[in-house]
Symmetry: C2
Subunit: 163 residues, 2 copies
DNA sequence: ACCCTGAGTCTACTTATTAGACTCAGGTTA
DNA sequence: TAACCTGAGTCTAATAAGTAGACTCAGGGT
């Protein structure tokens, strides 16, 4: 049945349906412009509602809705703070789950710096010792991936009926 | 003027405005649910309009609009193909700029697999030799970042007037 | 000449986003 | 104690985007 008459053009479908794909789940969770920009604010240490609003120009209602969503998904958590001479309020900070997104955000930043127009980026991610952090793509054996052009996505437990 | 009376709670604003931030540019370019899901399809080797539509359940008009956008931004390019006994048509494949997003997508996938509910991911990224590829966060000196909790975002040419 | 298929466009409907006024809580000041 | 101030929201009406599904269009096959 392996008829090779046509010239093996392109796949009809993705190897894995959306429901079984972690990447798709990630996209459904954080694949929204405002959501990502809010996570950037949190990564920058901005905790307060109005500060985020000022930085992003986001409507209050949308910011409120997204913060609720991110909190309920465990990416942000409320953190009480006090300014001198004011009543205590709640800000938002990244949870561990939220901070675990840093590699993805770092990779995005690196991509944009190299592959999008707009000049150099002024935002820098650094560790506690002041060293800049970057991402690297590696193989199972630890060797770096130099050329991304050969990478393919496949189903992991291979499909038994590729019909 | 460096008055330390309050307990150094939180930053009022991000260290870098959106216009000078590559991460923000990346988010504005690909920070959209359908856009990201389309890039996943392209990464999976799905080239054809109706195949993407079937996989994603995306409305035709939205798919058409996003493909135009991604093409004009240079992340996808049209690629003619022929099925036997049918007229030639155009599909879409990732450009070099589009493939350069693979590290970011890989990092996202890894995040979701570890930090989101939903069971193991069946989508696997591998190199031409069949080895799985993953991302790693490293410092300038090449040492791996083990703990993400100390990473901060700062302005790179430091702000001269942090007033 | 007619049919078939895949890539779109078009239309009417529903939902999300937006700007801006308004509310609410609680500490400060008089 | 009462009026006041500030920051975090909610509410409302107008606009924009997303959606489902019918329709169009191109070109090879029959």
């Amino acid at each position: 049945m392996t008829n090779e008459t046509h010239d093996a053009t392109n796949k009809l479908h993705a190897p894995v349906p959306l429901a079984e794909c972690a990447l798709a789940r990630a996209i459904r969770t954080i694949g929204d412009e405002w959501t990502l920009l809010i996570l950037r604010e949190a990564l920058c240490g901005v905790e307060r509602f109005d500060a985020m609003r000022d930085d992003l120009g986001i409507p209050r209602s949308v910011l409120s809705q997204r913060l609720k969503q991110l909190t309920s998904e465990g990416l942000l958590q409320r953190k009480p703070y006090s300014l001198p001479g004011q009543r205590p309020r709640d800000g938002y900070v990244l949870t561990e789950r939220g901070r675990a997104l840093i590699p993805a955000l770092a990779a995005l930043r690196e991509w944009a710096e190299i592959h999008l127009p707009g000049g150099p980026s002024r935002l820098r991610l650094q560790d506690s010792d002041g060293q800049k952090v970057t991402t690297r793509l590696i193989k199972e054996d630890g060797s770096p991936v130099d050329d991304v052009s050969a990478i393919v996505a496949v189903a992991h437990p291979p499909n038994t009926d590729p019909a």
